[in-house]
Symmetry: C2
Subunit: 344 residues, 2 copies
Amino acid sequence: MADVGEFGLIGRLAEILGEPTSPDVLVGIGDDAAVWRPRTGSLTVATTDALVEGVHFDLATTSWTDLGWKALAENVSDVAAMGCHPRYALVALALPGGAPVDGVEAFYRGMHACATRFGCTIVGGDVVRTAALTIQITLVGESMPVADATDRPLLERSRAAVGDALAVTGPLGGSAGGLQLLLGAAPIDGSATADALIAAHRRPMPRVEAGLALVGAGVRCAMDVSDGLLADVGHICERSGVDAEVDARLVPLYPGLDAIFSERALDLALTGGEDYELVCAAPDATIKRANALLGEGGQEPLTMIGRIVARSGDKPSVRTRTAQGALVEWGAGGWDHFRAENHD
Amino acid sequence: MADVGEFGLIGRLAEILGEPTSPDVLVGIGDDAAVWRPRTGSLTVATTDALVEGVHFDLATTSWTDLGWKALAENVSDVAAMGCHPRYALVALALPGGAPVDGVEAFYRGMHACATRFGCTIVGGDVVRTAALTIQITLVGESMPVADATDRPLLERSRAAVGDALAVTGPLGGSAGGLQLLLGAAPIDGSATADALIAAHRRPMPRVEAGLALVGAGVRCAMDVSDGLLADVGHICERSGVDAEVDARLVPLYPGLDAIFSERALDLALTGGEDYELVCAAPDATIKRANALLGEGGQEPLTMIGRIVARSGDKPSVRTRTAQGALVEWGAGGWDHFRAENHD
């Protein structure tokens, strides 16, 4: 299935990545498959994501280098959201005939920088031709060691319980705010605030260390904020058979977001995606323990934003307490109403 | 990064796959990542391949169901070529807006049949929109248990040694012959031979059990015949720093191939791809041991087709002994000469 020009390009890309530094990698790029020695006593996690030009990204607002970082970061965030260490990545690139080689090399440099930052190794891949640039990355991770055969040191969407507090690992809306600036929704004034928002969009930082701290503290339910806070809390509710109430007044806004976007800031924080902070559900005492552990690691504490409540209907429901004190359902008309309340 | 219609389709596809039957799968489709318990004492292998419509396959000559089988089989063959068990697959599908839902479901049924046949589980994936149908599958496998910290129970391209015999696990040219029939190069006469060739193209059978037997017998160098026998022997030579001589008179032809294609049959067997038989290099005594082990498992013995020789120049060279006794170099002009000798 090899393309004619595949072998030359793969050689150049392998050079950018260099030899794997992890002693656990036994066979890297160049054989039928990559091989590594799994960590004894850990569970294995794996996630895959496909990104298509014109659907998921636009090279007009994203450089090849940033695209490489973001494409891997999205997968790193999925592994962080399971409370695991990211370890081994495989990259399949489908390139249009006119894709510039220096662009593809910059993409690999961005991906390599992200891999190095988060302790994972790019061990294999495939390069083929297509009409629309498509990036598919599979990332394999490893959990903290299991205590026994029934232990699941993981953060799962399905493990929220009624009465749990809902909390987030950091401020939200930064990536969505940065994208709005790049799209011209507000002037880019060169301020540190605007730069930080744009950086949050271009170089998101998955919360790997925070995910590990949550698991260490006994948290067992979390996911990453990738579709938007309320949508993602909805995913937890769906898988756990519960509802949730989010207090919008407690949701931490990315620094400077309200200065630039005023009343739209909350909207960006509640529904903007790609923040890659984690949202978790756990008993109050566990949240307290997690904060102690996060503090020991020099990380910011969790912010409580709401609570898991019993399922009230056939479908999962996420209700939001507004600044005015009303409880508004997110989704369909309810959320439109809430938006109207905020924007008018 | 989710598409609007993604969740409904993923639900239907998850139903086709059913609940994972492997007790080692802890989290399947529906969380941030899949989770499994790795086999203690095994090495992990992983491979990824991308297939693009119009480049790697054509829905005019391939059904959706066969496409599902083949897409996974290609990855299963890579794991077989490492001498490992295929275990966990992740599938990313990039679909054009007009892709029929029943076609995508048939694709999943074909993939599920292949997974079931070869003992692996589809644990996760992603579905996105694009212009050209693109299939990306990552397959994770597990080696036989390691004896100690230095043991590598693997089939690697880099481990051929001068003096090793070259051998294949079965007859070649079947898939290429079937494709030629489908493309109209010879009439499809409805005979069992023609049917078998077409089946070899549509439903290739990766040699997982043979790969495990080779490792068990002490073979340490092999790969699957995916680009064509001579090209793939060239890959072994490149990675091992050696040359090879293949005796064309010894290469086993797929049954009936010569009856239909006469003197073109050998060409198809030497250069046709996607056979998914394994080609290995090992000392004669090891080949003998492998044959005993293959026989115990009810599998056909290896066929010796040539020998590994010392590197003679700057680049790897694969030389072929023709029916006339001449030694002809494969690649560039040499192979054209050989083709001319055969075809005229």
